[in-house]
């Protein structure tokens, strides 16, 4: 066995690569500019990508700005995650009709179109691995997720820019891609605009084999430049989750911490953080009927632990207060997720910070919750 090849693809040949992906039977989804945000949508040509755009992110803030160059992947992650394609927000599980002997269920087996995800970041590969754990490794694997996951080609891109709310380096999920992708691209802007391409799987190799003019191996300087891109991004990341190894156990000692009251004063329980989170998986299972009452459907829809309805049982909801609902979300993500699924539920992508309308920062909340207790006002007892 030889090591998987590392190739050099000129910027001008990116369309040839996309053609090869499509010729192999994949529809391509990738980043594109829509309504002043970079979101994932259908990408047919390299020209559909956000050339020359970057994003400026901060707690509660997201803006697109022009870059000084024509980089195609010169931004961090936006409000979309690949969860939208793998674990759709709205899916019908089955429909049923009344019959003489009760009812009949009509269930079409889940179908999935072969889809290539272009521009998957390291944190998003980590998020997909977490959703695999949750949705495939339990006692009842989700057939809808499985069908879509198996029909997915992952084309990763190493991050050349740390977003303003990113903290993947401290979560050990990025910014470098360490596996799990079929192809991994690193964008080089100088001396010439090009990509270093690493082949990560036989499916990735099949795409490269379709290229009419095979790309040359990347030179040693090009490979070094690709490594430097990741190192520079990691070094420029301004946010960290402190001491992540200690967090899961330590958080379970904070259930009565006054900080939960403090954050509850700010949290609107709007559920934005759960919608943009690439690992939040909770769904509502609800029934609908038509006006005749003879046809019923069961739908599965994204749900959020920030809603009052989420914990409804006879007698009312268990989590009545914003305090308990924010606490559930944060402790689940960083602590009880480990108990339930053997992994963290957070990849450090920063979306929950950016898209929080009041700018609550999960890393800052954890810091306050786990800080050594301040001396009581009034000095020593």
């Amino acid at each position: 066995m030889t090591a998987p090849p590392t190739l050099r693809l000129a910027r001008a040949d990116l369309d040839a690569l996309l053609d090869a992906v499509r010729a192999d039977g994949w529809t391509v989804l990738g980043p594109t500019v829509r309504e002043e945000a970079i979101v994932y949508d259908r990408v047919d040509r390299a020209a559909d990508l956000p050339a020359g755009w970057t994003d400026v992110q901060a707690p509660g803030r997201y803006r697109l700005e022009r870059r000084a160059d024509e980089a195609l992947f010169g931004y961090a992650v936006g409000p979309h995650s690949w969860k939208r394609a793998l674990h759709p927000a709205d899916v019908r599980l089955w429909r049923a009709s009344r019959t003489a002997d009760g009812f009949a269920v009509d269930d079409a087996p889940p179908a999935a179109e072969r889809t290539a995800f272009l521009g998957v970041r390291a944190c998003e590969l980590a998020a997909i691995a977490i959703q695999d754990r949750v949705l495939l490794d339990g006692p009842y694997p989700d057939p809808i997720y499985r069908a879509r996951r198996e029909a997915t080609l992952l084309i990763a891109v190493q991050c050349g820019t740390a977003g303003g709310t990113c903290f993947c380096a401290s979560m050990n999920t990025g910014p470098g891609v360490t596996g799990g992708a079929d192809l991994t691209l690193t964008e080089l802007l100088e001396p010439a605009h090009a990509f270093v391409v690493e082949v990560g799987s036989p499916r990735g190799a099949a795409i490269v084999a379709r290229l009419a003019s095979p790309p040359p191996p990347a030179t040693e300087p090009e490979r070094a430049a690709a490594g430097a891109v990741v190192a520079r991004t990691a070094a420029s990341m301004g946010r960290t989750l402190d001491d992540p190894a200690r967090v899961p156990a330590a958080l379970q000692e904070t259930y009565d911490h006054p900080r939960w009251d403090d954050v509850a004063q700010r949290c609107l329980t709007c559920a934005n953080c759960t919608m943009v989170c690439p690992t939040c998986f909770c769904t509502q299972v609800s029934d609908t009927t038509d006006l005749t009452g003879d046809h019923a459907e069961r739908w599965r829809r994204w749900d959020s632990c920030f809603t009052l309805e989420f914990t409804h049982v006879h007698g009312g909801s268990v989590r009545q207060t914003a305090r308990s609902r924010y606490r559930q979300w944060l402790t689940h993500k960083l602590s009880t997720w480990h108990d339930q699924f053997g992994t963290s539920g957070c990849v450090g992508c920063g979306r929950c910070i950016t898209w929080c309308p009041v700018g609550i920062d999960i890393t800052e909340e954890v810091r306050a919750l786990l800080a050594p207790a301040a001396p009581a006002p009034g000095g020593a007892q």
């Binding site: 089955w94 009760g102 749900d303």
Partner: protein
């Protein structure tokens, strides 16, 4: 090997018989198409679906030795449970299950058994009692402590004497008595000293309202019942029942997957957390 049926798809379950137990509680007997057996472990639950209304998790309370005869006791408290309770013989309900991790009936073999139930909490414990009585010799001493709000709210009154005759100590209490009631009055925890079991070698199984279970478990551990052998069945919002929807989380547990039955050893640190 054939694929397991999709656990999200309901099967047809026809109501064979319906009986009103109390003011708001009914017991249904159901049968799957072709009288297919539905093997279950005591403490597991099914998701029942009255067509077009919605789904609710309901404990199985039939006899584990008769898996084709599916029995559910339902308290009519919401739209779905009212529709289930109102299902007449001949009606067809959707059924998914059985789900969950039930009572430790195997672990209890060779031990004394103490069953403590409050109100409709007796329903998920009935399969334990039936299994224990069917294999009476495998267990040590056995006692049932049952508390109800009033004598008219007590379940399975017609069966309690039969269970007593087959070797189960049965003690009952009510919160509010009527003129005909000659038994104990007060909370069920007050019956614990009268249970003829040896705390150190007892497996305890407790089901009822959250507050009743918490006080019962505290009283049992105070009297020397080991927390690792005190088992509680919890209720949370079960939606999918297959550990995919997230609604039934209780701290580090997913109740549909890890429960609904869990030990007091595991639950004790969680029950003191409000709104967990």
């Amino acid at each position: 090997m054939a694929l397991a049926p999709d656990p999200m798809l309901p099967r047809r379950a026809r109501v064979l018989a319906s009986r009103q137990d109390t003011r708001d509680t009914w017991t249904l007997e159901l049968e799957l198409d072709g009288a297919a057996p539905l093997p279950f472990a005591p403490g597991q639950f099914n998701m029942l679906w009255p067509f077009g209304v919605g789904e609710a998790p309901i404990s199985i309370c039939g006899d584990p030795a008769e898996p084709a005869r599916i029995v559910h006791t339902v308290r009519a408290v919401g739209a779905v449970s009212q529709a289930i309770a109102a299902a007449a013989p001949g009606a067809v309900l959707g059924l998914r299950g059985p789900f969950g991790h039930g009572w430790p009936t195997v672990q209890a073999i060779g031990h004394d058994v103490l069953i403590v139930a409050g109100g409709i909490g007796l329903a998920p414990l009935r399969p334990v009692i039936l299994e224990l009585l069917a294999h009476r010799g495998q267990y040590g001493r056995a006692a049932l402590l049952y508390g109800a709000r009033t004598p008219a709210d007590a379940l399975y009154g017609h069966e309690l004497d039969a269970w007593r005759a087959r070797g189960l100590q049965v003690l009952t209490t009510v919160d509010v008595a009527d003129r005909a009631w000659t038994g104990a009055v007060g909370v069920v925890t007050r019956l614990i000293p009268r249970a003829e079991v040896d705390p150190a070698r007892t497996v305890a199984m407790v089901c009822g309202p959250d507050v009743m279970m918490r006080f019962t478990a505290q009283e049992l551990t105070a009297r020397g019942f080991p927390a690792a052998r005190v088992h509680l069945s919890l209720e949370r919002n079960m939606r999918c029942a297959v550990a995919l929807c997230g609604h039934c989380q209780y701290g580090p547990t997913l109740l549909c997957r890890d429960g609904p039955v869990l030990t007091w050893e595991r639950l004790r640190p969680l029950t003191s957390v409000r709104e967990l």
